[in-house]
Amino acid sequence: MTTVLTMAEIESKASSLGIDLSTIDFDSIVLPPGEDFGIKSDDEDILHEEEPPEFEAGYGNVIVVDNLPVVSPEKFAKLEGVVRKIYSQTGVIKEGGLWMPVNPETKMTLGYCFIEFNTAQEAKEAQEKTDGYKLDKSHIFVVNMFDDIEKYMNVPDEWTPAEIKPYEPGENLQHWLTDEKARDQFVIRAGTVTEIFWNDARQVRPDPVYQRQYWTDGFVQWSPLGTYLATVHRQGAAVWGGKSTFNRIHRFPHNQVKHIDFSPGERYLVTYSSQEPSNPRDTHRILLNIFDLRTGKLMRDFKGSVDDFTTGGTGGLSGISWPIFKWGGGKEDKYFARIGKNAIYVYETDTFILVDKKSYKVDNVVDFSWSPTDPIISLFVPELGGGNQPARVSLVQMPGKEELRQKNLFSVSDCKMYWQSNGEYLAVKVDRYTKTKKSTYTGFELFRIKERDIPIEVLELDNKNDKIIAFAWEPKGHRFAVIHGDGPRPDVSFYSMKTGGITNRVSKLTTLKAKQANALYWSPSGRYIILAGLKGFNGQLEFYNVDELETMSTGEHFMCTDIEWDPTGRYVATAVTSVHEMENGFHIWSFNGKLLYRIPKDHFFQFQWRPRPPSLLSPEKEEEISRNLRKYSKKYEVEDQDVSLALSEQDRKKRRAIQEEWETWTTRWKQYYEEERDIRMQLRDGEPSDDEGNQEEYEAKEVEAEEFLDVREEIVNFDQEQ
């Protein structure tokens, strides 16, 4: 607290203390830094109160047009008209927004002008469109954003060598793989909180790793090898990773990013945003950025209207299907490709330009997909000319663009391509019209990619009219499962590509009749599959062993919307996400269908296992391990036992503690109860108040109660004479 003294008071005080004020140098009095003894400096107040000046608007909507002709005042109006005409096409020029400076002496224009648009977006568009515009031979426009000019002005003339930062070892991004208990992680998003857990199946509960509120503005996504967790924000995407806490590794600026996609080898990140046109006649513009994931550098951007990125054919107005760019060439991320009108655009990641500098022309192509392991594209061209030109599926090798195999198909309504995860087989589901053209039936064309000449087999279901509800290859395997049927309870069939001696033939393994299933989820290690009845079937689950062709168990996760195997194939997560109002949360099952634990979470949005990179063991080594599994498993069995013993010991201890705590409460309560017995009795007017002890002692007494229902006097006549 300070009290304000007048100068006279100070002087009197000073003289009473015997100090001559004129001998003191006031400037020499310095307060210790950071301490003002409660005395506010006048300057400070101003600093605090005065907010930084705010500009009404920046110069984001102003462009500078250079290389205009230098004209005399007579022609000034004409030039201004021309410029105005050019720039009115791209946007609305603000009133008085066109200013062409004039040399005050010669009255000639200076050869440049400023144009102010209504919005920065219009300015940007005008700048992009007219930069390099040829007015005539000697006047080619050079257009810049006004803001950029300032930026260029600030570039120092002298070149200074960039500072080389000393190398700092990065964090171990693979640390989670070194978990001693070999557990897997998963991320969940519920409400505003994103949480990462270990799936601790032994302890039958999740073990928290990290959690954060408002971590992402949209969704979260693991990278394909599990190294990073990506979040999306208004300003762009970010990836996180590290040892125990998730630190931000990189930011990828991209305004209003909507979708992201990693390349399979985790080398690149594709971000996508789209801009709805404010005016329905404008085009719907989209922007794609491809970043190098490790350096965070923008490698290439693609922008344009939606139409440029769709086939314009069957896709229709619905627009793009994500991902736009499909990655090919296996884990090296060598190629990426997108579909366009009558062409497939294949880019190389070495240069980020088109392979052979031109697109791959395929008339009317509507769909394509990469082999998961090889640079092979499969593509589908529908029927043309009312059936004169058959539909076809072809396999094309990149980068040579040579056609490896082609198959013509007749009276086709639609095709869908399914690659097996090792790229060994390709199944093409072909919907054909029946003769009447009123309905369709389905068959499969099965390509054996790794065999000589790529033989094709045709597979038709036993009942050709069955609708195909789902199809799935066994990961890394040779089998596939199909759900088919028309009725409310479809059948499930399993086929193998490896039967029939020397020449492999496809054959049916079994058909399971009348299943409540509409989705197939193979274990990532093959062999096991979940036949799931989602949506209409309310979450029926059947865990099936395809080796033994037997059902291991059935379960139900009521209303279940999502199912995901953990990357090792040991556990399965089933979740009800917020598409339903009730029941939100997830369950964790063992691979053989035993429910391990369930976690209810309101407003549950997302569940995702953290992927693992592929095993470094050679196939031979893996084979050997699975042969000698008993030897290895012994060690883990012992461990399991220890854990369960320790658990039960812990449990017992905890229970005892709880019980003891409870005992102390109850003894105290009993004590109170005894003490208060007399008072309670009084409150009840001396009635033996409490029941305990004499509860069973009451006797049943029969009480005869007489009740007069009616009293009536009647005169009874006696015959006295008798």
């Binding site: 709880i658 409460w665 309560w669 009840r684």
Partner: protein, 326 residues
């Protein structure tokens, strides 16, 4: 054993109460007639006619002669249990939400809802030994808590009144002076409306159920939070077993959504929890609407539940129930 379904009410049940001997069961519902049943076989003994609105709560005197009921018709009525005649009617200017006899049955604590600008109140009335001497004067009136007070009960020795309601805070009041003695902690306490409150037989602890999908056990002298039982749906009703260390908790999603969800999704089960270990023991299914009322028979060998569906379900426990090991 198969439950006994008692269909005597035309509207959702609101409250259930056994008498001390456990041979009678009183039920209140949103229809206007509280009903008394034989607690053993579910026979209907009779009804108490006279209310003109939903009946929210009731209590029966220790000697089972007097029944008191609180209703939305802004009255609390005192009945002769045996004959069903109305002995007295306390009139209020807002709906009566809960009633509870004190030890000795000389006092009754009544809560009234906030209504037409009147705040919610807790009122204590004295009950005259003979109905003809009955007056409607309040011994004590407490005002203060915001929102509806869903339940108020007497604490040990009638010294305190414990109340809970919409503001999700439990309060202990001095029953002599009306002074606020204790308030439950906002952090550890309930996060949403407390819908029900149930005293243990010896009044040493009590259980509260809340819309925050949990039920909590409290010490009624110190207001210490003892246990929390977590459910996956809002709790409407709860009860403490007088025999075993069990509690039963019931609820369901809001009545608004009932018609739009599957019976399985609604989870209209009465769930049993171990009182001390807080573990779930099991559930009793059957209602096709949320459970609004639960009560244990004082002998602990049967319990009844009342649902939004208008049924009272009376369950006698199987012998296995008494040998559950945790």
């Amino acid at each position: 054993m198969r439950p006994i379904l008692m269909k005597g009410h035309e509207r959702p049940l609101t409250f259930l109460k056994y008498n001390r001997e456990g041979d009678l069961l009183f039920s209140c519902a949103k229809d206007h007639t509280p009903t008394v049943w034989f607690a053993d076989d579910g026979q209907r003994l009779g009804t108490y006619r006279g209310h003109n609105g939903a009946v929210w709560c009731c209590d029966v005197s220790r000697d089972s002669t007097r029944l008191i009921t609180g209703s939305a018709d802004q009255t609390v009525k005192l009945w002769d249990v045996q004959t069903g005649t109305q002995l007295y009617s306390f009139n209020f200017n807002s709906p009566a939400r809960s009633v509870d006899f004190s030890i000795g049955d000389k006092l009754v604590v009544i809560t009234t809802d906030p209504f037409m600008g009147n705040p919610s109140t807790i009122q204590v009335k004295s009950i005259a030994p003979h109905p003809s001497d009955q007056t409607s004067d309040s011994v004590l009136t407490i005002k203060g808590p915001q929102g509806r007070i869903n339940r108020s009960v007497w604490g040990p020795l009638n010294k305190t009144i414990i109340s809970a309601g919409e503001d999700s805070v439990i309060r202990i009041w001095d029953s002599e002076t009306g002074q606020l003695l204790k308030e439950s902690d906002k952090e550890s306490g309930h996060q949403k409306t407390i819908s029900s409150l149930c005293m243990s037989a010896d009044k040493s602890h009590f259980l509260t159920g809340s819309g925050d999908k949990s039920a909590k056990l409290w010490d009624s002298r110190t207001l210490t939070l003892l246990k929390t039982y977590v459910m996956d749906r809002p709790v409407n009703a709860c009860a403490i077993s007088p025999l075993l260390d069990h509690v039963v908790i019931g609820g369901g999603q809001d009545a608004v959504n009932v018609t739009m969800t599957d019976r399985r999704a609604g989870k209209f089960e009465a769930k049993f929890y171990h009182k001390i270990l807080q573990d779930e023991i099991g559930g009793v299914k059957g209602h096709f609407g949320p459970i609004n009322a639960l009560a244990f028979n004082p002998d602990g060998r049967s319990f009844s539940s009342g649902g939004e569906d208008g049924y009272v379900r009376l369950h006698h426990f199987d012998p296995e129930y008494f040998s559950i090991r945790m």
